[in-house]
């Protein structure tokens, strides 16, 4: 699916409409009354915009920290996931041994083990990378593996009669077939990477947007909380766009229809 600029009009209109409704409701204290809380706890979008502007240096500093964690963690997960998928693809024994474990690994509540990771890797970027890589690894690996297995067997036969060895078939046919699948996996991973970073920062950190949100929450600075969330969303959307660009450059042929 390729988005054209015109396709963005309708979702943008909905966002504007929602923001307008929220602004009106907040200005008239409708939300606060309905929730039976103090009006300052329900910031209007304009208050959030104020916070985005006034706290810009604070937000930028923390955003940089989080962005670094997310990009590094995602890159790590893509590299390891891709290599792991190829290893599983090449060896039936490995696949039989690891595939069920891979699926089972998804039941591990990462938030619950996050504190342990902090104990192991310390307070720095280590545990955040570990958490992000853990949550991103699965979609990357599984999607890539699906892609490697989606290869048309006729194409493999064709390559064999053209004297291709296993390595050439992998490089010239299987990996190119799998790249669009890898991109799908990376897109899912990008969305969870941002969530992973926030979890990581909540568990043990003195910087980053997750940390800022947690602190602002404690100080009842709800506008700043929303500002942090807005920056996080922007980050995830930017990553999505980046992956889309990479896909157009290196996987423009898309997922191949599976032959009958």
């Amino acid at each position: 699916m390729r988005l054209r600029p015109a396709d963005l009009l309708a979702p943008l209109a909905i966002v504007v409409l929602l923001l307008a409704a929220w602004e009106t409701a907040a200005q008239w204290d409708v939300l606060a009354d309905a929730l039976d809380i103090e009006p300052f706890l329900v910031p209007a979008p304009s208050d959030v915009a104020d916070s985005l502007w006034n706290d810009r240096s604070l937000l930028a500093e923390d955003a940089w920290v989080t962005l670094r964690e997310v990009v590094l963690g995602l890159a790590l997960a893509i590299a390891i996931g891709f290599a792991f998928a190829i290893a599983l693809h090449l060896s039936d024994a490995l696949r039989r041994a690891f595939y069920p474990l891979l699926v089972a690994s998804q039941t591990v509540p990462v938030i619950a083990i996050a504190p342990v990771l902090v104990v192991w890797f310390g307070f720095g970027i280590g545990p955040k990378l570990a958490i992000i890589a853990l949550v991103c690894f699965f979609p990357v690996t599984v999607n890539t593996l699906d892609g490697l297995r989606a290869v048309d067997p006729e194409q493999v036969k064709m390559m064999r009669t053209l004297d291709a060895d296993r390595g050439r078939i992998l490089r010239a046919v299987e990996i190119p077939t799998a790249l669009p699948y890898l991109a799908s996996g990376a897109r899912i991973a990008a969305a969870v990477a941002v969530i992973g970073a926030v979890f990581g920062e909540w568990t043990g950190s003195d910087e980053g947007l997750g940390h800022l949100i947690l602190v602002s929450q404690g100080q009842l600075q709800t506008a700043r909380v929303f500002a942090g969330v807005a920056v996080l969303s922007a980050m995830a959307i930017a990553l999505f766009a980046l992956i889309g660009l990479a896909e157009r450059r290196w996987a423009w042929w898309g997922k191949q229809p599976v032959a009958a």
Binding site: K157, T161, L162, D163, A164, R168, A172, P176, Q256
Partner: protein
Amino acid sequence: MVELRAVGHSFGELRALDRVDLEIGAGEVLGLVGPSGCGKSTLLELVAGLLEPSDGRVAVDGETPAGERLARTVLMPQRDLLLPWLSAIDNGALALRNRGAAREDARRGAHPLFQRFGLAGFEATAPGRLSGGMRQRVAFLRTLQAGKPVLALDEPFASLDAITRAEMQEWLAEALAEQQRTVVLVTHDVDEALYLSDRVAILSARPARVVAEVRAPSPRSVPRIEAVSDAGFTMAREQALTALQAASVAP
């Protein structure tokens, strides 16, 4: 050059081939015609060394091991199977790349065939932007580029419309006359088989056996329309169709 002796093949319970005997001389073009689903493609994969026969003996150039057959035979599958991520010339040069040639060297190697097959100027084009006939020509060129003595062609023009198909048959007749390779050509079109081959073997319904052989009239004129309306051709066609009909209704 290619020899099949009492060759049988089964996929589990399914018996695809049964006691097939065939002999194809060096430089000969043999057409294989049979009812659809009769195991023609299996036969080609056996010759090409992609499969081992369940029983009997398949030899190419006297060699029976699958690896040896694979080294001497190239298979052109029914679909063009061009890799969409490679340009036309990189598809055509795949065999050279597979043997370790650098990309530029492989392109240089495939270039003359692009000229000869009327594909000059389309080297850098993505397969998705080529017409059906051009894609098929790239696929054939890729097959020739492998430089092997035996060509196994599996319904090379099945996916084309009638007019393109007739054009491509003339084109292939010329290309084969020039190349002097041993060819096994599978098709379900009797005219195509007789026009392109020296000899046509008729296969029965599954499990396939050779039930008749028809010698194609020779010499044939290259313009297809003249060749197929020739009296000798018409006779050979009648002979082949009769055998094919008998083969299809057989138990």
